[in-house]
Amino acid sequence: MMPRTLVALLCAALAVAAAGGASAQPQALVLQAAVEPPGLDLTATPASATAGVVLYNVQECLVKVDRTGKLVPWLAERWHTADNRNYTFFLKRGVRFHNGRELKAADVKYVFDRAMNPETKHPYPRDYDAIGDIIVRDEATITFALKSVNANFLHNLARQGSVIYPREAVETMKSHPIGTGPFRFEEWVRGDRIVLVRNRDYHVKGLPKLDRVTYRFMPDPNAVLAALKAGDVDASLFGLGPEHVQDVQKDPRFTVIVGDTTNDVILAMNNSRKPYTDVRVRRAVTHGINKADVLKGAMFGLGKILGSNVDPLNPYYVDMSKAVPFDPARARKLLAEAGYPNGFDTVLKVAPQYYYTVRSGEVIAENLKKVGVNVKLEQIEWGQWLSRVFRESDFDLTIIGHAEAWDVKNYANPKYYFRYDSAKFQELFAKSEVTLDDKARGALFAQMQKLMAEDAPVVWLYMHPRLAVAKKGLTGFWKDLPVPSADLSEVGWTAAR
């Protein structure tokens, strides 16, 4: 009996093994993900690992940021406003949640009422501060009445915290998200994989192209490369290190995607701590850093040099990268004027969890030594970084990437960890929040970028590039990432495969 059972087991195992190499089936995709999401509820965590799985794949918003960064109607097929205070949304008809129930205006009201309720611990309650009242007109019509004009209102509705879900799923979303997206959640084997399958009732005809998507969690970048080459994963959307790009580009089996992101890597100075209270010192530090060198050292030259906190994907982007150029002589002169003719000692705290911060820091320390600033590089663990640097502002210098789009708002918050406090900037920003005319708003953004470059509260180093790799034959990936989403709705294998 025993041997026969064993044989049967082995046969079954072999059969599964033969069928299980998911990459062998044309319409299945195995993706590598470096970080496992801490939970799958976008209304409970701001983690980009969660957004990478759920946003636009499982759950969607009333409006969507498309692959070019443009705001497009989505679950709301159109909207209307006469006074920029009352927005009426007309929901697309016949959209169903993955549990089969139809999306109604009452669901939308429930989602935003819940987001605004402090009890629910939503990570971005501020995004909904402008909303005064939400009125359900009929099953497919809903009006948001704003307390005041708000230029970010529509954009905030496309963010990861604004996904629409059915009320009955609230309790279980952390481990089983339900939405209206092109894929429905199938399973999460903790520590190993998350599987999504095609939503056959998807409200966009012809999409998605894939039947099945498996996210495999593989933290080690070298192991990722090996898995790609061995054919165990089909694509890596966030896990390709810049040091591997050349190697993979040479391999005819793969396509490498190098795109733009909203992730601005900055050298933050503590504006409330000497000597960085002095704008001359901050400008001197900026003049002392050769950003091209930093980009080469940290990113192998991939990415774009920045001069302000508005990234190239932003419609109001102005190239400020040459506003405060690399000029060691000028840096030394400014330091002397500020009372530091012999420079000073300072500590740069970085978290090696983000390897680019350490690599950038090494180049910067070398650069600044030449203008008399002795930088001591201190590596601390991410948890410590968050509590000591980010929460308590206990630092001189630090490096980090700010991934959020439209995050210039942080420079208008004097309590933000780098403590930039400029009344002029705050005024400009407040004005931009209530200015809806595109041209006027653009002009305000241009002024803000100029002021940022002059005040030099931080050194904007470079835009972190989007580096992804996929097997040849896979198409439809986004090139740039205007939102932290890995939208897979249009991804598929070409017939040639």
Binding site: G20, P123, R190, D232, G383, Q384, L386
Partner: protein, 316 residues
């Protein structure tokens, strides 16, 4: 013998209590706040504060410890902050990866190291001895993550015999599961084997210099019989001691290798939990691993009694 065992059990309980307190205090003294980590750089400060409240992290340390310990005694290790499932359940789902991995590695270690060590001892200062020692030196010097990557390069990328990583679970069949664990077990066992070879060699060498071995040889017994029957059993005490310690280290080594091979085991669970300050999980896993090590040591102690009657008699 009963007294001997009773004393060991008392020591075991005391050790576990001490470990639990140590783990509890250490993970809480570490800078870094779970709520801040969950919220990251983009969540608001108020949201993090509310989360802290909700997780009960604002209460006194002693109260939190007593509650946790009382729970642990009932088998309830609390709930994971990250995953929102009971810690005990989380550990149980990871065990089917780590336990077979550690056992496979241990088997590899013993099967390779003990014969090689005995062989090296019998070939003392001859070519066979030197080759064994060079191999062992290599095993000790090569970091595990590196040997893991080399194995992946050879067997998955170049030869394509096994998958480069990942684990589909035992439900997919015993053979695919074992196949997924084979490379990491070899990488993991290699280092431990390298240490054990040396311990075995020197233990056997020591015994071979004893008078009774010379007597046995003088009696005209066959060389192999002298080594295997007369010398080996008496050399076993130091070998078992080292092997026992190594077994504990296998779990620690698994932390690194599980990342390289993308295995959803206990090590990666712990690593992720430390990074995310998922305190209940860190405490739970640390307590579990400590318990395993203490139990292994207990088993080693008991094994001494069987291997060497003197220890048994002294104790009673």
């Amino acid at each position: 013998v009963r007294r001997y065992v009773a004393r060991r059990v008392a020591a075991l309980v005391a050790t576990l209590l001490f470990v639990s307190a140590l783990v509890f205090v250490v993970v809480r003294v570490l800078p870094g706040d779970p709520a801040a980590l969950i919220m990251g750089t983009e969540g608001s400060r108020e949201a993090a504060e509310r989360l802290r409240e909700a997780m009960g992290l604002n209460r006194p340390l002693a109260v939190q410890y007593v509650e946790w310990l009382a729970g642990a005694l009932r088998g309830d290790l609390g709930r994971s902050i990250q995953y929102d499932v009971p810690v005990g359940q989380l550990i149980l789902t990871r065990l089917p990866v780590t336990l077979p991995l550690a056992l496979l590695a241990a088997a590899f270690m013993v099967v390779v190291a003990v014969p090689l060590g005995v062989y090296a001892a019998t070939r003392h200062r001859r070519a066979g001895d030197y080759v064994a020692m060079i191999v062992s030196q290599l095993g000790i010097s090569i970091p595990q993550f590196w040997s893991g990557l080399l194995l992946i390069l050879l067997f998955s990328v170049t030869l394509g015999w096994v998958r480069s990583g990942g684990f589909d679970g035992w439900s997919a069949g015993a053979w695919p599961a074992l196949r997924a664990l084979l490379l990491p077990a070899v990488a993991l066992g290699f280092f431990q084997a390298a240490v054990l070879v040396r311990a075995t060699r020197s233990a056997v060498l020591d015994v071979l210099r004893e008078d009774y071995v010379r007597t046995a040889r003088a009696k005209g017994l066959h060389g192999r019989r002298v080594v295997l029957v007369h010398a080996f059993r008496n050399a076993l005490i130091p070998i078992v001691t080292v092997a026992g310690l190594q077994l504990g280290q296998l779990v620690a080594g698994a932390i690194v290798l599980e990342s390289v091979f993308a295995l959803p085991g206990l090590g990666r669970l712990a690593l992720g939990a430390i990074g995310a300050r998922d305190l209940p999980v860190v405490q739970g896993v640390a307590l579990f691993v400590a318990s395993c090590i203490v139990v292994i040591n207990f088993a080693v102690d008991v094994a001494y009694g069987f291997l060497d009657p003197r220890i048994r008699h002294e104790a009673s």
